[in-house]
């Protein structure tokens, strides 16, 4: 058995080794520093971006697309998933629509997003929302369909018989864990959609990364990669905390 402090240090050692190796490759001229900037130049690149105001503008734009698309996709995903999960008619009606639309990757919507909304924040928001919608829709539909019939019978036994009553007293609470799993997946996937949408020119992280890469300013590309990783980490940690609180009734 390893002692606890050593075990806690292990990830840090790994991270340090990773950065050391990364630093060594361009420094020893094993790769061209223009293709892979050493990590030591990243802080300076970050400060340049920050001072010029580009960094704040980029993350401001991206957060707008991210949060807006996420909110829209989550609300619609839960709403439609609930409807098709509760009603056999709705499920039957949508069965083939879902089968046809589901395999279409989020990126395939880019042409339509640009035709409908132009190269605009709305287009980016739309692309993010489409990706989020499917993830949350399937999670919600499955969770609602899987609600224990016994709980629905219990609600009926105490007089909650209409669909809205059933929904509020047992169906949604019982489906919450499953829905939240979908939301958490969506929180991660949505970043991909954000970058993808912005690569086509909508102002934000993705667009700034494209600009930097055409200028071979790879240090700036790395700055935004790390920014994104950090933002994802923050959102995922915050959501996990919220999820833990919401599901505190589970053993």
């Amino acid at each position: 058995m390893r002692s606890r402090p050593a075990a806690a240090l292990l990830p840090l050692v790994g991270l340090a080794a990773f950065f050391a190796l990364w630093e060594a490759f361009p420094r020893l001229d094993l790769v061209n520093p223009a293709f892979l900037p050493p990590p030591s130049v990243i802080p300076e690149a970050f400060l340049r971006e920050l001072r010029s105001g580009q960094w704040l503008m980029a993350i401001g734009g991206s957060l707008g697309h991210y949060l807006g698309g996420l909110a829209l996709g989550i609300v619609l995903g839960i709403a439609v998933g609930t409807l098709t999960g509760m009603s056999r008619t709705a499920e039957g009606l949508t069965a083939w629509i879902v089968r046809v639309l589901r395999p279409v990757p989020g990126l395939a919507w880019v042409p339509f997003a640009i035709i409908w909304f132009g190269v605009s924040p709305e287009a980016a928001l739309f692309i993010v929302a489409v990706g989020v919608f499917w993830i949350v829709y399937f999670a919600s539909h499955g969770a609602i369909r899987g609600v224990d019939r016994d709980l629905i019978e219990l609600a009926a036994a105490f007089g909650f018989r209409s669909a809205p009553e059933r929904l509020l007293t047992v169906v949604w609470p019982a489906a919450t864990p499953g829905i939240l799993v979908g939301v958490r997946t969506a929180i991660g996937q949505a970043w991909m959609a954000v970058v993808a949408a912005e690569i086509f020119g909508v102002a934000g992280l993705g667009q700034r990364m494209m600009q930097a890469s055409t200028l071979l300013a790879t240090d700036i590309v790395v700055v935004y990669m790390l920014t994104m990783a950090l933002l994802y980490g923050v959102f995922d940690a915050a959501f996990t905390a919220l999820q833990g609180w919401m599901l505190r009734w589970r053993a």
Binding site: D150, L151, E153, L154, A156, A157, F158, G159, F160, E165, T169, V170, P173, A174, T176, R248, W249, R250, A251
Partner: protein, 257 residues
């Protein structure tokens, strides 16, 4: 005296994929105020189905079930299931208040009644717990409190203690007997445990056959609490066993040790 529940010529047929199964037929039953009525029958005879029909969860295929009209703030019937069926996302007190939310009572009144019901089953100090923090016996008590909170004219119980160990079962039986006597609660209690039926009930109805019908009824003399080993109870239990044997189903029944 007007019965609280009047069942006339009840029949219930399930239809599934064109196949019809008649579970109950030609069933007549009345429940009088204050009475503790037990229904005994083998597994699969239709006991749960009968309670579902009485609770209005399944419409009868034929015949009628007439319930009393409850006053505002009460229900005609409420149900305790074999599994406690607590809502895991509600704390104990909110589980007990569940049925009250349908009765349009003010919040404070709901709270007061839920606390009262919880105190009656002896769990007032567990009000803030989550269901996963309870033992099986405690969960069943909470389910009982939830059913009592709506002050039902008739409390319907579907083998409520059958999943508990023998010691817990006996203490819950004693507690139920005490509660029903103290509040003159009318109960319709379904079980396959003959000893449980004769210990608790004023009247035991035997359900047997396929489709299930009432084959016998027995009065059990004596108030509560009862001595489980009293010879009178043994005699009634023996008579019920013979009714069931006559209907050819005794081998399915749990016999007491």
């Amino acid at each position: 005296m007007a019965g609280l529940i009047a069942i006339r010529d009840l029949a219930l047929t399930f239809t599934r994929d064109g196949a019809r199964t008649t579970v109950l037929s030609g069933l007549d039953l009345d429940i009088e105020p204050g009475e503790f009525l037990a229904i005994v029958g083998a597994s699969g005879v239709g006991k749960s189905t009968l309670l579902r029909v009485v609770a209005g969860l399944v419409p009868p295929s034929a015949g009628t079930v007439r319930l009393s009209d409850p006053e505002p703030g009460r229900r005609a019937v409420s149900l305790v299931f074999q599994d406690s069926r607590l809502l895991p996302w509600r704390r104990v007190l909110d589980n007990v208040a569940f049925g009250l939310e349908k009765l349009r009572l003010p919040r404070a009144e709901r709270r007061r009644r839920a606390q009262g019901a919880l105190a009656r089953v002896g769990l007032a100090d567990l009000a803030g717990r989550w269901p996963f923090q309870l033992s099986g016996g405690q969960r069943q008590r909470v389910a009982l409190a939830r059913a009592l909170a709506v002050e039902p004219h008739v409390l319907l119980m579907d083998e409520p203690f059958s999943a508990l160990d023998a010691l817990t079962r006996e203490s819950l039986q004693d507690e139920l007997a005490r509660l029903c006597r103290a509040y003159r609660q009318t109960v319709l209690f379904v079980t396959h445990d003959i000893e449980e039926a004769v210990t608790l009930a004023d009247r035991v109805v035997v359900l047997a056959g396929r489709p299930g019908r009432i084959v016998a009824a027995h009065r059990v003399a004596g108030g509560q609490p009862r001595d489980r080993s009293a010879p009178e109870l043994k005699a009634v239990a023996q008579a019920i066993r013979e009714d069931l044997a006559g209907a050819g189903v005794s081998q399915n029944l749990q016999t007491a040790d």
